[in-house]
């Protein structure tokens, strides 16, 4: 992360990496609003943001999908990291699996039940630094009206090709969907649902 040390001389690299890790989940896209998202001077690079999921099943290809509409916010306390906070909300009707018929089915009541539960949300409760490039973000995920804690691992990487400060985040985690009342398809469809959030945060500072 030589790039980081060059662009942030006032703070040491360790602190910087920790802080951007805190941002990882929070700095989620705001494509829906069309606003340039800013939190502590950071904004989301919407062209490099993706919120998706993956699930395996017996007798069916591994299914990958993503959400097209979402919003989020972040509050970062640089001096007291434990006070940092992030949240995001995903429009469950914007699920995209590459086929309208497939989308309609996944939005229907056995799965996302988007008519009754139009959003999925995540609110962080704890951020822990694991190493210089990895953090663990714990938070509450609300899906189908059920709120449960989940844990996401966030990898942080700088992009030396970009101007200014640019940090890419990849957050991954696995949830047990039946805990949220989504038991459809078991045991042919796995209970484990993998979540991935890829984004890139920018600042001109």
């Amino acid at each position: 992360m030589a790039q980081s040390s060059q662009i942030m001389p006032a703070r040491n690299v360790r602190t910087f990496r920790w802080l951007v890790t805190v941002c990882a989940l929070a700095l989620l896209p705001f494509a829906d609003t069309g606003e340039a998202t800013a939190a502590q001077g950071w904004r989301i690079d919407e062209a490099h943001t993706w919120i998706g999921f993956k699930i395996d099943a017996v007798g069916f290809p591994t299914t990958r999908g993503h959400f097209n509409h979402y919003s989020g916010k972040v509050l970062i306390d640089f001096d007291r990291p434990a006070k940092s906070f992030t949240s995001f909300t995903v429009d469950s009707t914007s699920v995209d699996l590459g086929s309208q018929a497939f989308n309609d089915f996944v939005k229907s009541s056995p799965l996302l039940n988007a008519e009754k539960y139009p959003t999925l949300s995540f609110i962080s409760t704890q951020v822990e630094k694991l190493d210089s490039r990895t953090a663990r973000v714990t938070g509450n995920l609300t899906m189908l009206g059920v709120t449960k804690p989940i844990v996401l691992t966030v990898n942080v990487d700088a992009d030396p090709s970009a101007k200014g400060r640019t940090v890419a985040f990849v957050a991954t985690g696995t949830i047990t969907r039946s805990e949220f009342g989504m038991a459809f398809g078991a045991p042919l469809i796995d209970d484990a649902l993998e979540i991935t959030v890829k984004t890139r945060a920018l600042t001109d500072e």
Binding site: L97, G98, S99, F102
Partner: protein, 184 residues
């Protein structure tokens, strides 16, 4: 060739429509399961496959009613063993034309991954049973084995038609064709 020598028009229409749909269903079913690894494409093709299959079932029911209501032409003269083989092959074909879509319907009904079936996007197919993994697996096995038997019988059926038309040069194929004879 008088009127009694050919199959009624209704049965000829149903025969060729069924033939086209069976080729489509067998081909699509094999293709989507063996070669399609994109989930969205697999999902959509499965819907189309189910629509074709249920149409085959409806056509077969109509066909059996027509067989009862109309007179079949007398078979072309042939050895008793050939006539018996033809009879058996046709009975098994009819049975498989029922068993294939019925086992598919049973699969769609009992699978834990129950996806509504809208026949060609128009009419929702009812699911009379509850999801049950054991029943689904039995139905799946029946469906796959039936497909192999049906494909084999189709090959035999086509081969027999070719032999009748071109080797023995009788009117077996002509009777189900549109003109007096498919061969000049």
């Amino acid at each position: 060739m008088n009127k009694g020598d050919v199959w009624p028009l209704s049965l000829r229409l149903v025969h060729w429509a069924t033939a086209a749909l069976v080729f489509a269903a067998l081909g699509l079913g094999t293709y989507m399961v063996q070669l399609v690894h994109d989930p969205a494409e697999r999902f959509e093709l499965t819907q189309t496959h189910k629509s074709i299959g249920i149409t085959v079932l409806a056509l077969t029911v109509v066909r059996l009613c027509l067989r009862i209501l109309t007179n079949a032409p007398k078979p072309e003269p042939a050895a008793p063993l050939v006539l018996l083989a033809a009879k058996l092959a046709h009975v098994f074909l009819y049975a498989l034309l029922l068993l294939m879509p019925l086992s598919g319907w049973l699969m769609a009904t009992t699978t834990p991954v129950r996806v509504p079936t809208f026949v060609f996007g128009l009419v929702e197919l009812p699911y009379p049973l509850s999801p049950d993994l054991t029943t689904y697996r039995i139905a799946h096995t029946i469906h796959v084995v039936s497909a192999i038997f049906l494909a084999s019988l189709v090959v035999l059926h086509v081969a027999a038609a070719i032999i009748h038309a071109f080797l023995w040069q009788d009117r077996t194929l002509a009777r189900v064709w549109w003109r007096r004879s498919p061969v000049a």
